[in-house]
């Protein structure tokens, strides 16, 4: 087990280098001049521009600039924007918001997706199964923009509790966890559909496995056959999906954050791309990549817990 963990950690290093370099290269290859974008319509003073270029190493070759960037990140410094603000103060608080939002979405996914998928698999071919499949199709075909506004209007404005208060807050994060429930669900919808289908397929496959038949032949009660013998074996694809999805959710939260006006990283990213604030964009994306890599490491560790064949490989 120890060797497995160590190997996975070492393998993460080249992944980290490769991805950060790619992000760096892509962002710097974007057309347009960041200094000009900063100045808007106004003319940029060439002397000032030259000084800025010098300070931000804009004249150095790409690899050298990547070297500076990597050195800074490793020392926890995400650099400063052209306006002189440290990038890290720009993200402050925002990552937490997006992280909470994504975790809420992930919980919805895990509970609803796995639950529905399991149920559908057990009722394979019956009307319940078909209803679940139809429901997942519906979920993937409604864009977040639509489901977000509709749910916000229904549950946040129209429908009231007895006391006249709406079910959920419409916007902002003032209400703690309650603020995250509705946007979390909206963010999760598409993933719920995928995870439901994945769970269904995975469990159906496991239920056909010889060792499940063995468990039945041993006279094990049905609940045990499903809950112990089949479940653990069918979890791997679901865990993989959930792990990979954390990154996707965090990076893709911008629409949901905008609808529910959550001060998260998605909104910031959008704004920074728009304004060509390259250091901020690179900083945000780098942190997202880090989160993605860590999530995948966690998934790899979970594999080893779930399947001894991986542990002893």
């Amino acid at each position: 087990m120890g060797r497995y963990v160590l190997r996975r950690l070492l393998q993460a290093i080249p992944v980290l280098l490769g991805t950060t370099f790619l992000i760096f290269a892509i962002v710097y290859a974007l057309p347009g001049d960041p200094l000009q974008a900063l100045a808007g319509e106004k003319r940029v003073d060439p002397v000032f521009a030259a000084a800025m270029r010098e300070q931000f190493h804009l004249n150095e070759p790409l690899l050298v600039r990547y070297g500076y960037y990597l050195r800074d990140i490793l020392s926890g410094d995400f650099g400063t924007t052209f306006r002189g603000l440290p990038v890290s103060t720009i993200f402050e608080g925002k990552f937490q918001v997006t992280f909470k939002l994504s975790m809420t979405a992930l919980v919805f996914e895990a509970v609803i997706g796995v639950g529905l998928g399991f149920w559908a698999a057990l009722r394979r071919g019956k009307w319940e199964d078909k209803a679940v499949l139809a429901f997942t199709l519906l979920l993937v075909s409604i864009p977040t923009l639509v489901s977000g506004f509709v749910l916000q209007l229904l549950l946040g404005v129209k429908l009231k509790l007895g006391t006249g208060i709406a079910f959920f807050p419409v916007a902002g994060v003032q209400d703690g966890l309650r603020s995250y429930l509705l946007p979390g669900f909206v963010l999760a919808t598409v993933s719920i559909a995928y995870l439901t289908r994945l769970t269904r397929t995975s469990l159906m496959e496991t239920l056909r496995a010889d060792y499940v038949r063995t468990a039945v032949a041993k006279g094990m009660p049905k609940s045990r056959v499903l809950g112990r013998h089949a479940l653990r074996n069918s979890l791997i694809p679901m865990v993989t999906y959930l792990g990979a999805d954390l990154g996707t959710l965090m990076g893709g939260a911008v629409i949901t954050e905008t609808i529910f006006n959550l001060p998260g990283i998605g909104q910031q990213l959008f704004q920074s791309v728009y304004l060509q604030e390259n250091p901020v964009v690179v900083g945000i994306v780098t942190v997202l990549v880090l989160i993605y890599i860590v999530a995948n490491l966690v998934v790899d560790m979970l594999y080893a817990v779930l399947d001894p064949r991986i542990r002893y490989e």
């Binding site: 038949r213 094990m220 001894p308 064949r309 002893y312």
Partner: protein
């Protein structure tokens, strides 16, 4: 030793003494598939007594496993259906029991071993966990005691260093050892009937012999009824008392093992025997039954074997042969079994 102190005596009717331990009687199993109704088992009957070994023989697809799964009650229904027949265990028809009553028998009093132990054992649990589960779930034993029992059983099936290996996973064992674990698990609660479905097919020849020997020995010690499913006539002679030969979902011949070896009473059994490689016929061409087994979706009329049969006459194409009684212990489903026995072909 008193066997199974928890036996529910309501399952033991008065005539239990005269009934065989297990009797399959005119069993039919069919599967609903996209292509149509597959009649996999068409009126199979056989019996096993305590301490007796029955070998069930036949080509791939002849319905051996499906019959066994019907006995165990592990067929998926649907697509499977059992339109007719009985499986009597000590005189009680298992097919009429409730799920609850059935699951008290499955694994505890009638147990089964599968062909490929690697896929039949759960990859994510230790072998000790999988064996001890029998005691924990069916006997309400505590974890530690159940584990001790698992080690004892692993010793009993002669797995070296059982105590150290009880916490290993199936993939850490060799094929032969895995099959021993499967056997340990199946005999955990001293079943009265053990069904072994091709227990050695996935193993190499030397290991095959060891596993067969182990099964025979365990059976002798505990007086189980053993149903040994195989398509290898070679392994049968030493272990089995009697043979049932299946073809296209029916029994075509049943006989005490030596009678059948000496003088088969059905052209298909004869073909099977002739296709065993023998040392004294070295150099000669190996005999093979010509043609293919029939398509279960489109069975030939009359005797299902007639398209491949060297003894075929006109009525074989039209009349389904019943299982003719050759002697008290022998039967053949061939209109011309006498000629087959006499060896007067054409």
């Amino acid at each position: 030793m008193v066997k199974n102190p928890s036996i529910d005596t309501s399952l033991l009717p008065a005539d239990a003494a005269t009934e065989p331990l297990l009797a399959v009687d005119n069993l039919h199993v069919e599967f609903t598939t996209r292509q149509g109704l597959v009649r996999a088992v068409n009126g199979v009957s056989y019996t096993v007594n305590a301490g007796e070994s029955l070998a069930v023989l036949g080509e791939s697809g002849s319905g051996k496993s499906v019959t066994a799964q019907a006995i165990m009650g592990i067929l998926d229904m649907p697509p499977a259906r059992i339109p007719k027949g009985e499986v009597r265990f000590r005189g009680t028809d298992l097919l009429k029991l409730s799920d609850q009553a059935r699951s008290q028998i499955r694994g505890q009093r009638i147990a089964m071993i599968f062909q490929d132990a690697l896929s039949a054992l759960n990859p994510v649990f230790t072998v000790g966990w999988q064996i001890s589960e029998m005691f924990r779930v069916h006997r309400g034993m505590g974890k530690r005691d159940a584990m001790k029992k698992a080690v004892e059983l692993m010793d009993r099936v002669r797995i070296p260093a059982a105590k150290q290996r009880v916490n290993d996973y199936p993939h850490q064992f060799s094929g032969g050892m895995r099959q021993r674990i499967m056997i340990a698990m199946s005999i955990a609660l001293d079943p009265e009937v053990l069904i072994a479905d091709e227990p050695t097919t996935a193993l190499d020849v030397t290991v095959q012999a060891q596993i067969m020997e182990l099964l025979a020995e365990l059976q002798r010690e505990s007086n189980m009824g053993l149903i040994l499913i195989t398509h290898d006539l070679g392994v049968v002679a030493d272990v089995a008392d009697k043979i049932a030969v299946m073809y296209a979902g029916r029994i075509v011949e049943n006989a005490p093992v030596h009678d059948l070896y000496k003088n088969p009473g059905h052209p298909y059994s004869k073909g099977l025997l002739d296709s065993i490689p023998r040392v004294d016929q070295k150099g000669q061409d190996l005999y093979a039954i010509k043609g293919l087994p029939p398509n279960l979706l489109d069975m030939p009329p009359g005797c299902a074997f007639h398209p491949r049969c060297p003894y075929r006459r006109d009525n074989c194409v039209t009349d389904v042969p019943p299982l003719y009684e050759i002697s008290g212990t022998r039967g053949s489903a061939c209109h011309y079994y006498r000629e087959v026995l006499d060896g007067t072909v054409e």
